[in-house]
């Protein structure tokens, strides 16, 4: 891992829109072959960072090196190395499914003789071979996303940028997309993923930065972050509207800390079942209770006091 060369290096990276510091002096490095995540809620500055990496957004400060090049100066060469999967698909509805890949390949100067078999191969990879001639609007959300990923692979990118790759997809479609991404990772493609889903970050990312308001709140491997910022287990209790806060004093001393959310109360504990027994022993009966492992959601809550999805 440490032997792999650095492919992206950002130092004090900054993007300002009027008074809003969309990206506020962030520092990070990504190594070749790594799958790296930017986790944070909407508006945290993840997409802005992604666009600066691709050189389609000019940074306002700091340094940024992608494969040793400056995106503001060597945009075309950097983008020849990148595959981009944007949040909005940007599929061309005037063109058919296969044409979307072919014409995209032309933007890299790839000849039709190469693109014909390449497009067939990518459609196979995206499980869309039988839809080659369909209109884009006939595809389901999951199919569109697979097509966009396939499109991003037309130039055999060294780095694939995925901006919210499974937002808006149903669970089954998400798993198919994740499977597609695992296979790319096995092939050595560097993945950079933005997401506001903690399970996606846990599944896909070896290492991630947690972003909020344009800043990095924490960095590390998902498990290490959870160990550092949370307890092994969480006891979730619901007492009904308005009553969660009321019962809080009676739960004093159970667990290391708590979070009061709009609809539930989270107790951070070593052993969830033991904590739940203690709740029962004190004669408190919640409407529902749930014991679960800590997740990145809890890390985010700890760091920012807010939930990832609002």
């Amino acid at each position: 891992m440490t032997a792999s060369p650095t492919v992206i290096h950002a130092a004090d990276l900054m993007k300002v829109y009027g008074k809003l510091r969309a990206v506020d002096g962030i520092n990070f490095e990504v190594r070749e072959g790594e799958s790296f995540g930017l986790l944070g809620p909407n508006g945290a500055g993840k997409s802005t960072t992604m666009r600066m990496i691709g050189g389609t957004l000019i940074r306002d400060g700091g340094t940024l090196e992608v494969l040793g090049l400056d995106p503001d100066k060597d945009g075309p060469l950097i983008r020849a190395n990148l595959g981009v999967v944007p949040q909005q698909d940007y599929l061309d509805e005037e063109l058919r499914v296969a044409e979307n890949l072919t014409m995209y390949g032309r933007y890299f100067g790839l000849p039709y003789s190469y693109l014909r078999p390449k497009v067939a191969e990518l459609l196979e990879f995206a499980k869309l071979t039988d839809r080659a001639k369909a209109n884009v609007e006939e595809l389901s959300g999951g199919m569109k996303r697979r097509l966009v990923i396939a499109r991003g692979l037309i130039n055999d990118p060294r780095i694939l940028l995925l901006d919210e790759p499974t937002t808006g997809l149903d669970p089954q479609a998400r798993h198919i997309v994740w499977d597609q991404l695992y296979r790319l990772k096995e092939r050595g493609v560097t993945l950079i993923v933005t997401t506001h889903f903690m399970d996606e970050a846990e599944q896909l990312c070896e290492r991630l930065i947690v972003m909020d308001n344009g800043q990095i709140k924490a960095e590390g491997r998902p498990m290490a972050l959870i160990r550092e910022y949370s307890t092994p287990e969480v006891l979730e209790l619901r007492f009904g509207v308005g009553r969660n806060e009321e019962l809080l004093p009676q739960l004093e001393g159970i667990g290391e800390r708590h979070e009061l959310l709009a609809d539930r109360l989270l107790l951070y504990v070593r052993d969830g079942d033991a904590a739940l027994s203690e709740v029962a022993r004190r004669g408190i009966t919640p409407l529902t209770s749930l014991v679960r492992r800590s997740s990145l959601e809890d890390v985010f809550l700890r760091l920012t006091g807010r939930s990832l999805i609002e």
């Binding site: 014409m103 995209y104 191969e121 130039n155 055999d156």
Partner: protein, 274 residues
């Protein structure tokens, strides 16, 4: 998928340099595909529209016009002007809603923007593809004029580049305007009604600009349609224009097209890099 049977024929450096050198053409290919979808309807329009105009204006209205206009029959007088207006209308179509669509509706400009292609090359590709379409349409129009006996000299073929130049002199500033629009609330409809329509009515298409009262003649002077129409008449039937005026016509059209080009590039760059 694990063992790739295909070897990419270009290195990353050559993909980047191919896009830097020929990105305009690569994007034009996509735009030509869009046009191809409408090829049948565009083709029909290209053939039927001149036919209708030439019959209605040249033959129909021409029958009411006693004697010659500017020394030639009304058909010969009006045909080159209709060619110029037809191309202006085509430019109105290509350089307005399609540009709005690329930025706001189907957002077609954003996918190529993620590739080695640069924003100004996307704008250039649109222009190249449209020029190709306009040239074909002009040639069809010219052939119809020949068939109607409205032109008979080889020199009249110059009306094709003149009409093309007019389409750009009108279309590129429109493209620049459209490229900076953040929303479409019917502005383009207003452009159509209050700019294109008056320009085509007061640009000496159906009569000489001199027949208009002086306080309306300025519209012609501002309008690329009038300048191109006069040039087309010079090459089609030898309308007598002083040399300085011919130079003015060409210079005005070129200046408008260049201004539109520079602004369109700038707005594309701003829009796709922000």
């Amino acid at each position: 998928m694990s063992d790739l049977p295909l070897t990419r024929p270009l290195t990353r450096e050559s993909m980047a340099s191919a896009a830097i050198r020929r990105g305009v053409l690569f994007y034009a290919e996509t735009w030509i595909r869009y046009i191809r979808v409408y090829a049948l309807s565009l083709g029909l329009v290209a053939v039927v529209q001149p036919l209708l105009y030439l019959v209605a204006m040249g033959v129909g209205l021409g029958a009411l016009v006693r004697g010659d206009v500017a020394g030639v029959s009304y058909l010969r007088f009006v045909a080159p002007a209709i060619m110029v207006s037809t191309m202006t209308a085509a430019a109105m179509g290509e350089f307005s809603y399609n540009i709005t669509g690329g930025f706001l509706w189907n957002k077609g400009f954003f996918a190529p923007n993620q590739t080695p292609i640069q924003p100004r090359q996307i704008a250039g590709g649109v222009i190249v593809a449209c020029c190709l379409r306009f040239t074909i349409q002009c040639l069809i129009f010219w052939a119809m004029m020949v068939a109607f006996g409205a032109v008979d000299s080889a020199l009249s073929l110059l009306s094709v580049p003149i009409s093309l130049l007019c389409a750009l002199a009108f279309g590129l500033p429109l493209m620049a305007y459209t490229a900076q629009m953040k929303r479409e609330h019917g502005q383009l409809n207003l452009v159509q009604r209050f700019i294109v329509m008056p320009l085509s009515l007061f640009s000496g298409t159906y009569f000489l600009l001199e027949t208009m009262p002086g306080y309306l003649q300025w519209i012609g002077w501002v309008s690329p349609i009038w300048h191109a129409t006069q040039l087309a008449r010079v090459v089609c039937f030898g309308l007598v224009e002083p040399g300085w005026l011919i130079v003015t016509h060409v210079a005005y059209l070129v200046a408008l097209a260049l201004l539109g080009w520079v602004l369109a590039m700038r707005f594309f760059e701003r829009r796709l890099r922000d």
